[in-house]
Point group: C2
Chain length 318, copies 2
């Protein structure tokens, strides 16, 4: 059994070409090759725990991920999010590896999904990237977008001046030019917009969206959270979900269904866009939306990739 | 984070007084102080995986247990059952300990439940213990019964002469006198009977049961498995389940309900017998049945006890 620490994970991550692997995961998912039982959920007085698990048929491993959110943790100087991943053999059930990622791999696989959505759905020329929010995911989305676009011009919106400043400082070191602005101004000026907040009311409105814009909605992963005006999903040319089954129950697609403004047949699945079964964007004038609620196949793929590389390294050392 | 190996677990187990702790767990469960979400389940081509999790309110930890059964493993020289337990803080969600018990703690907590059932339900004088089955659980049940009875006379029934011989050899070293016999003879001669097989049809019949017998049914933990003639549950004076909620869906109580032979109000809960809220056995002439399907609170209690002792040992060493 290989125990992998967060430090080791951070060391190998830059060496991995994860984008194609996660893409392959979405494709397999949409082709029905992935078994993902319902998410386990447990509420405690001070937090909540989710257990996501599943496997890709005919692969070597199955993965169980535990993710927690304890919202008073920052008062104790601890991150609110935490977790680990367990890798088992599909052949024998034996525990193969424990990845003590403390939730970091969930953050990274989420950022990779954003990059994949942009790769397949953003217009061919991105003049400026709009980032809504200034937290961990806002930063990671921007970092991983470098893999799919050369654009380094960024508009950012956030509620706290202090967090905006720290976002700017960190992202400028990563090679971006950062300008903070209002959401409506951001919407009007950016062809690629990524929403990363835990908002429960819409932040981005249809009236501000220009032709040729792609919007990726990352923040909403529960039935309560919502960042987009449902009219955006109603009038967009293309609406894509990472898992249509899950998007019926949570996220922006759920919100648009719940508001009764979108036809149930409109959303298409990301894996089908990747494989080309369903056409994605066909012109630079279209408006597209990707609603990413997070699917266990992302966890499975990233855990397997990190494990394989760490295993090679440990074999090399010994 | 404290990583605890099976070797360390085997080393500390004999030092622990687990019976009162598991009893306390059953009591807390029946008092509604334990949160146990539905069991997570995943089927694979070669096996199955169960995820049991939960916590006792106002305690320090919550526990997630992964247990697997891969039935071709013995052909590869591996045990079919496997698993591990994870201990987290209820305060912060931080991972506190990983117990790499490979399923052993599940075996032990199941044996402890059998000892507890015997403690509260067996007649005051046990002339002879009857064990149905010769596997791991048959052996552990007998070993742990030493904590609640001085009886060392045992009748055993099993299908394989070879396994009967190895059972006899191992149990005689533990201080028991072992005689193998037919089930009906065993039923007639033993005042305490423990059934430990994965049978899907009844093995033990009402016509063979004598007044003053207590039967603990360990084997049936799914809707398919059954070791007892439902007439035993119909005519027994006392029928006890570890979790009445769970026993409605699986195990011997479920079978008796399904056969339509037992009143829905007859079964009582083990935790209530332990706390004295519901009376258990009131005379040595009564016949009682305990149906033990396995409850997550047993995992929670045993994981916490093993962790605490291992932590003390590691503090002592450093």
């Amino acid at each position: 059994m290989l125990l992998i620490t967060l430090e080791q994970i951070r060391e190998v991550l830059p060496q991995l070409d994860l984008l194609p692997s996660i893409e392959e995961g979405f494709r397999a998912y949409s082709e029905g090759k992935v078994v993902v039982p319902p998410v386990g959920e447990m509420l405690l007085q001070k937090g909540e725990v989710h257990i996501k698990y599943g496997y890709v048929k005919d692969n070597d491993f199955y993965v169980i991920k535990v993710a927690s959110g304890f919202y008073a943790n920052p008062d104790l100087g601890l991150p609110s999010s935490n977790g680990l991943m367990l890798l088992f053999s599909q052949e024998t059930g034996l525990l193969i590896s424990i990845l003590l990622d403390e939730g970091h791999l969930t953050d990274v696989r989420t950022a990779l999904a954003g990059a994949i959505a942009a790769r397949y759905l953003a217009p061919s020329k991105i003049n400026r990237i709009g980032i809504v929010g200034t937290g961990t995911q806002a930063r990671l989305q921007l970092k991983y977008l470098r893999q799919v676009t050369d654009c380094r011009e960024v508009c950012v919106w956030g509620r706290s001046a202090e967090k905006l400043e720290s976002f700017r400082a960190e992202m400028e070191l990563e090679g971006f030019r950062i300008e903070s602005t209002s959401i409506s101004d951001l919407a009007k000026r950016c062809k690629l917009i990524v929403c990363t907040t835990p908002s429960k009311t819409p932040l981005l409105f249809w009236k501000d969206i220009r032709p040729g814009t792609h919007i990726t909605a990352i923040g909403s992963d529960t039935p309560e959270k919502q960042e987009l005006d449902p009219m955006i999903l109603r009038y967009a040319n293309i609406v894509v979900g990472d898992s249509l089954e899950q998007c019926k129950l949570r996220g922006e697609i759920f919100q648009a269904f719940d508001a009764g403004v979108m036809d149930s047949k409109k959303p298409i699945e990301l894996g089908h866009v990747i494989s080309g079964i369903t056409p994605g964007r066909s012109s630079d004038k279209q408006i597209s939306v990707a609603d990413l609620t997070g699917v266990a196949v992302q966890d499975i793929r990233i855990a397997c990739e990190v494990y394989k590389t760490c295993l090679e390294k440990s074999a090399f050392k010994s």
